[in-house]
């Protein structure tokens, strides 16, 4: 049995777009907030499933994909990916996740810190002076 963690979108449409059979899957509806709860997520992921998939409306617009891949890396089967209603798919690859996805996430975290600092200065200046001038 495979597991579909449905983040958003419609399971039936996802299976149709991916040419997969619904009866092969156990479907659990989650939301993006749930991705921030590792204990709950790992509970789902450590059961006896042969593959783990995250389902969504559109991979192009889906946030938190690196976290989903890390969850698959921590899951029991370490197989699966991310699938959407438009037929797009991100296939899980353990080496790629360790060597590319995780380091990129760290770079993103560093970059994010600078964006926050810059934003505080920029917004402050606008609020204090620019709207009045």
């Amino acid at each position: 049995m495979k597991l579909l963690l449905l983040v958003n979108g419609n399971a039936k449409r996802i299976f149709e777009a991916q040419s997969m059979k619904q009866e092969d899957f156990e479907i659990i509806k989650i939301n993006e907030k749930m991705l921030a709860k590792p204990r709950k997520m790992l509970n789902y992921l450590r059961q006896n499933h042969s593959e783990i998939y995250f389902g969504c409306l559109s991979i192009e617009f889906q946030r938190f994909i690196p976290f989903m891949l890390i969850y698959i890396l921590l899951s029991k089967p370490k197989k699966g990916g991310i699938i959407d209603e438009e037929g797009a798919k991100v296939k899980f690859n353990a080496i790629k996740t360790i060597l590319i996805t995780i380091p990129l996430l760290i770079v993103e975290a560093v970059g994010s810190f600078f964006i926050v600092v810059y934003s505080f200065i920029y917004y402050f200046v606008w609020r204090k002076w620019k709207i009045k001038s």
Partner: protein
Amino acid sequence: MEKMEDKKLRALFWRIDYTGALVDGGVSTTVRSLIKEILKERHDVFYFSGSRAKLPSNVKIYYFPFNRFYRNFPEIFALNYNFLSFKFAKKVLPQIQPINFIYHPVHDFNFSAGMLKREYGIPLFLQADGVQYWIKRNWGKLYFSKLVLWAEEILWALSDKIFTFSTQLKNLLIEFGAPGEKICINPCGFDPEIFHPQIDARGLKETLGLEGKFIIGFSGTFELYHGISFLAKSIKMVVRRIPQAVFLFVGDGSFRAQLDEIVKQDNVQKNTIITGFLPFEEVPKYLSICDVLVSPGINNPDGTEFFNSPIKNFEYMGLKKPIVATAVGQQKEIFKDRWNALLVEEKNPEAIAEAIWELYRNPELAQTIATNAYQDGIAKHTWAHRAKTLLDAYFSLIKK
């Protein structure tokens, strides 16, 4: 001499939302409907968007994508998009000038429309669906609270008009510092070409296995303020009295799990259908097969009054269906008990069940309130009325 109101305008709609247009929620419907009405008046519409947009083909759409890299940490992608969207807009705007006004649904952390207004002097009309700071604090997670507040304050200060949906929301905006003299109440509405009493939904009842059933409908996103759990709790009470009753939930949302749980606990799975999100064009068909439509909104847990203007209320009116609504916020203003709806106490499943039961056993009352609601809707609450308010605001601004 040509009257100012006869002048052909060039309106720019600018929506920031990231995935908003992928799901047909309230903001998508509002923006799309206003655009449709403005096009009917033969004005030109341009559209800047952070997501894909389903709009008429004569709208020139410019898609400003979010950064694909900065999107995994809370709010960073929105902060980054404030700069990015302004950069895109500055590049495109000279190609489409002259623009008469910008219509912009406010989005958290983003004041790029304000920056554009300051640089080009184009009148800026905001659509405030709430106070972003309040929404994040009460319904989501609030990170970088100062930045959310500052972005909104900048937009309010630079705008020429702030359109909001209800008196309750106007009060909340003023409480948070929005200038009251700029605020104009322009509720949601409905499109009578889409929501009308003669919808052809042949075969749908059969497909859903609902022949001979008494169908109670709800449409919308399953969010806290829609009071979905109280409607769910009323199912078993209704079914006790009307065994052939079926509740048809058209939509989805964060309270879906809670709804599923109540349905399971009360053992009313056979009397409940949850469709999930449907394409907008499918929704009228589903609602048209219902015998009663319900709007169970509730006041907010922090004590603020229900401030939404649910589109469903107006769409229900257009469908000429008997409506059961809770007596909260704007619903108390647009509905008059036993005249165009049955108004019930909020958070009270027994009251909802009682009202449905009354409409079931009194078809004459159901018919009367449905007819009154329809006439009221056509006279006052179509999107054409809302677009007129928007255009009138522009002309009065220009006259000044």
